[in-house]
């Protein structure tokens, strides 16, 4: 059993710069948690504090119920995969993977068995005699994972492990990591700045920004019910559209765009939004909820006319970019839709998936 508990953890550097500002997080046994956020949000620092590579300024970190604040990394029973692999260049792949076991004085047969098993699982059995220099980026990453797996630790820590790989290999390795977690279910904390990686890998995603946790939740929950403007904008690609609107109560509830277009609020949300009537707010609408019009629209659909600026045909869909009073907007339309730059295109906004953000608190209401 290896739950990881992070309680009111603060990390401050010299000059009282706080990298992590008192975060709380409970990670269940065998759970795959991804910390995601932009550079400098404190996600790597948090991971390094769990690993014991950074001291904690205040608060507690517990692994398997035991507070490990003052326990050195080697006694925490964790394994870590680094962004640039951190393989020992002077050792063969076998020795790299066996190093931790040798230091822990495992019997030779046991070491060989564990390394061979891990190598087979990661498809690197034929590389065991090579030095890291003779491996490709993907192979090195597998060796780094192998080094973690053979130790059979309580917790796996991944620090942006795929950032140095090319796009194609990244997708492939993402699947491999998920497969490994299914084969060897171990508590995993994974740090990335790539929200797609976070969404595809995680049981739960932790979105961090400026040293605090913005929201914790399952990937679908974060996508559909973001708690803050930051989460709404960070999760999802292409990013959610943000439009300055006025919430108007006039024979029903409307959001009024900067150009005067009024979009009716879905009746199911009227009670939720009514207290904010009259306020200037931000409307959040994902590109896939702004599409071409259909003959039988579902209830809660509103229409607006867009003067097409740029189109990006992606094959499966076409992205249409336009502006509403200077604010950029992206719509995701069927590739057969005729969208010509400079011409007007009528779009349907699925208002049942709208988000309304309070400009004072930046929270989704």
């Amino acid at each position: 059993m290896a739950q990881v508990s992070i309680r009111k953890v603060v990390k401050a550097y010299e000059g009282n710069v706080q990298a992590v500002k008192g975060i709380d997080l409970e990670i269940a046994d065998e759970e795959f948690v991804v910390l995601v956020g932009p550079s400098g949000c404190g996600k790597s620092t948090t991971l390094r504090m769990i690993a014991g590579l950074e001291e904690i300024t205040s608060g507690d970190i517990a692994i398997g119920g035991e507070v490990v604040n003052d326990v050195p990394p080697r006694d925490r029973d964790i394994a870590m995969v680094f962004q640039n692999y951190a393989l020992y260049p002077h050792m063969s792949v076998f020795d790299n993977m066996a190093f931790g076991l040798k230091l822990r004085k495992f019997p030779k047969e046991e070491i060989k068995k564990r390394v061979d098993d891990a190598a087979k699982m990661l498809d690197i059995a034929m590389l065991l005699d090579r030095k890291p220099k003779a491996l490709s980026g993907g192979q090195r990453q597998r060796v780094a994972m192998g080094r973690a797996i053979v130790r059979n630790p309580k917790v796996f820590l991944f620090d942006e492990p795929l950032s140095n790989l090319d796009a194609k290999l990244r997708v492939q390795m993402r699947t491999e990591i998920k497969k490994v977690h299914q084969l060897v279910p171990t508590t995993t904390v994974y740090v990335t700045h790539d929200q797609i990686e976070a969404m595809t890998l995680a049981d739960r995603v932790v979105v961090m920004n400026h040293g605090i946790i913005e929201q914790v939740g399952a990937p679908q929950e974060l996508y559909h019910n973001p708690a803050t403007r930051f989460v709404a904008g960070f999760i999802g690609s292409p990013a959610m559209n943000f439009l300055t609107v006025k919430l108007v109560s006039d024979n029903g509830l409307y959001v009024e765009l900067a150009d005067g277009t009024r979009l009716a609020v879905n009746p199911a949300r009227i009670d939720r939004y009514k207290p904010h009537a009259g306020k200037t707010m931000t409307l959040g609408l994902r590109p896939e909820h702004l599409t071409e019009t259909h003959t039988n629209e579902k209830p809660g659909t509103a229409y607006l006319d867009a003067t097409v600026d740029v189109t990006e045909p992606m094959g499966m869909e076409t992205m249409v970019h336009f502006f509403i009073k200077g604010e950029p907007v992206c719509a995701r339309v069927d590739p057969l839709t005729v969208a010509i730059p400079g011409q007007i295109l009528r779009l349907a906004a699925d208002m049942s998936n709208m988000h309304l953000i309070d400009n004072d608190t930046n929270k989704v209401v």
Binding site: L53, I78, P89, H90, G100, K131, K133
Partner: protein, 316 residues
């Protein structure tokens, strides 16, 4: 081309009024290999004039008779090998060079680690201070050491006396003198090792230590499994370089003991000077100075071959 006179690249042959001076200069500049050799020629002249020629000439001299009137081939070398005084010089040179290099390397390694752990601006100050022995002209600093080793008036013996201890004749007995010249050489050469090892330490990625710490390595294991293997090439090269330079050392012994007492501190260089210049037997002096050349050349060959092989294996 608007003025009708400019010469475009590759058009020289078509222009009816070529300007020969500019054209030939350009043609010359385009012959890259010749141009490259020309640019390197000052260096080549320096290496040939100051290294190959003197080395070749010394080798030629070592094969002449005392009057330098005829060839005796390797007679000077065989004569030297049979002489007790020369065998003592070989022993002393090896003792001096090997122990000095070992202590320099050890001290340099420890200093580099201490330096590496000093953070920020202070490191630069300490680094500068510790480099002082290496930047002072050796002959001058050896004179200072000579005063320090003086039996009657030196600071060292005065301090010993202050504690009620008997004074030590640092340069008066053979073994004391041998140890003293080694100490001065270590004092002079350790900063070079420190600066090389510090650079090597800085180039070991921090993440390797972090990975090792997580893998379960303590401080000693990190030293033996990460630091030393990662610094291996630098250690080998500095030791090799220092061994060659220390074997050729002249200043310290010349100023501190002049080979004495009882020829107990002579090195190849000082002995070669005594035999060749002071006693006037230049061919035999040349033979003394060339004695270690084949051994050191072989050592250099094997060490450098190993370093290159290793470098190919590990550098990403």
């Amino acid at each position: 081309m608007a003025d009708g006179n400019s010469i475009g690249y590759g058009e020289t042959a078509l222009v009816s009024t070529p300007r020969p001076r500019v054209g030939s200069m350009r043609r010359f500049a385009r012959r890259r290999s010749l141009f490259a050799i020309l640019l390197c020629s000052p260096l080549i002249a320096l290496v040939v004039g100051l290294q190959f020629y003197p080395a070749g000439y010394a080798f030629y001299l070592s094969m002449l008779n005392r009057k330098m009137t005829g060839f005796v081939l390797f007679d000077n070398f065989t004569f030297l090998m049979g002489q007790d005084s020369f065998q003592l010089v070989v022993f002393q040179s090896c003792l001096f060079a090997v122990s000095a290099v070992v202590f320099k390397a050890l001290l340099g390694f420890i200093l580099a680690h201490l330096m590496h752990n000093i953070r920020g601006q202070n490191q630069r100050i300490w680094r500068g201070l510790l480099l002082i022995p290496w930047v002072i002209p050796l002959a001058l600093s050896t004179l200072t050491w000579w005063w320090l080793f003086d039996p009657a008036y030196s600071a060292l013996n005065w301090t010993l006396k202050w504690f009620g201890l008997p004074s030590i004749p640092f340069l008066g007995t053979v073994w004391n003198a041998r140890i003293s010249v080694i100490v001065v050489n270590v004092w002079f050469g350790a900063p070079f090792f420190m600066i090389m090892y510090l650079a090597a330490l800085k180039s070991v990625p921090e993440q390797l230590y972090e990975a090792a710490a997580i893998d379960g390595a303590g401080a000693v294991q990190r030293l033996f499994f990460i630091t030393l293997p990662m610094m291996r090439n630098i250690i080998l090269i500095t030791v090799l370089y220092s061994l060659i330079v220390t074997f050729a050392d002249f200043d310290i012994v010349r100023i501190l003991t002049n080979g004495g007492p009882q020829d107990g501190t002579h090195l190849f260089a000082t002995y070669a000077f005594q035999v060749g210049i002071q006693s006037g037997n230049i061919p035999r002096g040349a033979a003394v100075s060339l004695f270690m050349f084949p051994i050191l050349a072989a050592l250099a060959f094997f060490v450098l071959r190993d370093v290159i092989k290793r470098n190919k294996e590990i550098t990403a």
